[in-house]
Symmetry: C2
Subunit: 308 residues, 2 copies
Amino acid sequence: MLNNPNYFTGNPLDRASDKRKDETFVATQLAHEEARMAVFWRGQPLMTTPIEDATESFVLWLHPDSVSQFKGAGTPLFLGLKDATPYFALDVSASAPEAEIAPFSEMGVYGQLREFGLILPRDELAILGQAAWLIDWHRRNRFCPRTGAPTKIGDGGAKRVEPKAERDYFPRIDPVAIVLPTHDDHCLLGRSPHFPPAMYSALAGFMEPGESLEECAAREIFEEAGVVLSDISYQFSQPWPFPASLMVGFLATAQGKEITLDKEELEDARWVTRGEVQALLKGERRDDLWLPPKFAIARQLLEVWAGG
Amino acid sequence: MLNNPNYFTGNPLDRASDKRKDETFVATQLAHEEARMAVFWRGQPLMTTPIEDATESFVLWLHPDSVSQFKGAGTPLFLGLKDATPYFALDVSASAPEAEIAPFSEMGVYGQLREFGLILPRDELAILGQAAWLIDWHRRNRFCPRTGAPTKIGDGGAKRVEPKAERDYFPRIDPVAIVLPTHDDHCLLGRSPHFPPAMYSALAGFMEPGESLEECAAREIFEEAGVVLSDISYQFSQPWPFPASLMVGFLATAQGKEITLDKEELEDARWVTRGEVQALLKGERRDDLWLPPKFAIARQLLEVWAGG
């Protein structure tokens, strides 16, 4: 229905946001005989070892019972329901921070979402994205930013609570505008110093307080490349759990092609023709120009502009 | 250029995000003879007292020098530059929490942005929105959420820093999907229990980790009204400093008109015809149906749908 090509979308779970407030409901779901738990170790989910050609992997779902025996495991985070099956995530790294061997690693492999994302089923990847986001947020939000007092998990993991003041905190979602400016038959791509060699992508930046999405898009492109946008057109968004971004993608018309580079942010920026982009999207290999992987919303913006 | 009808957009300031990292730059701007400072007391900005018919008010800009004499004033927050004129905001409430009389109140009036928003110049309102957002965020983020250690202002107010771990924190921006579902010639409006009597508005909800904007829109409308959306179309966004929301507005097509109300969230929801909306937008007064003020993105969604 939603027609969104981006990885990490299409999460099939019903978050049951009214029910998860009830501790009894969450406990019942945890004891459900079909309950499925994704296990994370130091930010990486447990998956099946990819076979032979490494083109496919799956989440290695455990039952909560098989994890509860694990000494010192943290609080399971309720992710939602698929039909009647409850889904959870658990971070097992905090329980044995010194251990070099991750629990359950005899059963599969812990891997980076960035690496496994392209070979996992899309719906499982979306669930892992949600799980990774929540786990990271809980890890980095153990204290109340207002008073420094400890906080604890609430609503099955959907929030944290400072119990004394009964103050609720919800996971951060940091909006980012990512923009593909175009001029005649060219689009503007740039590269950060930390990109892989020859990779160029759409320019992006975090929103600041008091901006609309389009104002952020215009500011970022002007700050980073000195290019003024005259028309900014929303395309789609992507949840991006590295660790907590909402990527909002735009195509835009540039008023001119002159580039004034912000050398603190970018190593280079250049105009690339539609024909060059089409060839690269079809698989052409060039030493001087790589596009981002399908995983990234920037690639999807290029697909839209270059006509897929 | 950006063609966004929403209040709080159109901020004319250049945030100078590269320069504000330099403490000397910020100090120089603060000493600039034309520098303008917006002063806030308990969340309310200092403005000129509206005259007679109360149709117009302006920000009462002070020079930083006239505020620095004020005992115990906090750190001025750099907002940006308009041409060469630097703009700042200062919260004076923390300096004298017990005082019942706000400093500088003999010069003007402290008022709610929600009340004065409609009678302030649009560009001044946008600057105050940015300022209110930053002031509130600094007030509620004095401690590191990871360790509970104190944090301090950095980059002229654009971030906070936990100095020991050199960890940066940036202001929260919480994305919200707000949706006007339509079916044939009707649109769906609902009312929260805390709305003024007879007011109905578009339904909205905060995003959760791992959703796209449209997935959030679909989830919220289904959760609150039991209505399934088949087509969801982005319109525009609005920064909403109460305290830190990014409202992202959508029109959507509903698959059917049957409503299943979430009575915890909504007091009522109903389908309203385009003709009724048009009459109300033109100024008709009804006892049973009020639309939100122009200030709200919901009103702008109704304007788009009903053909303004």
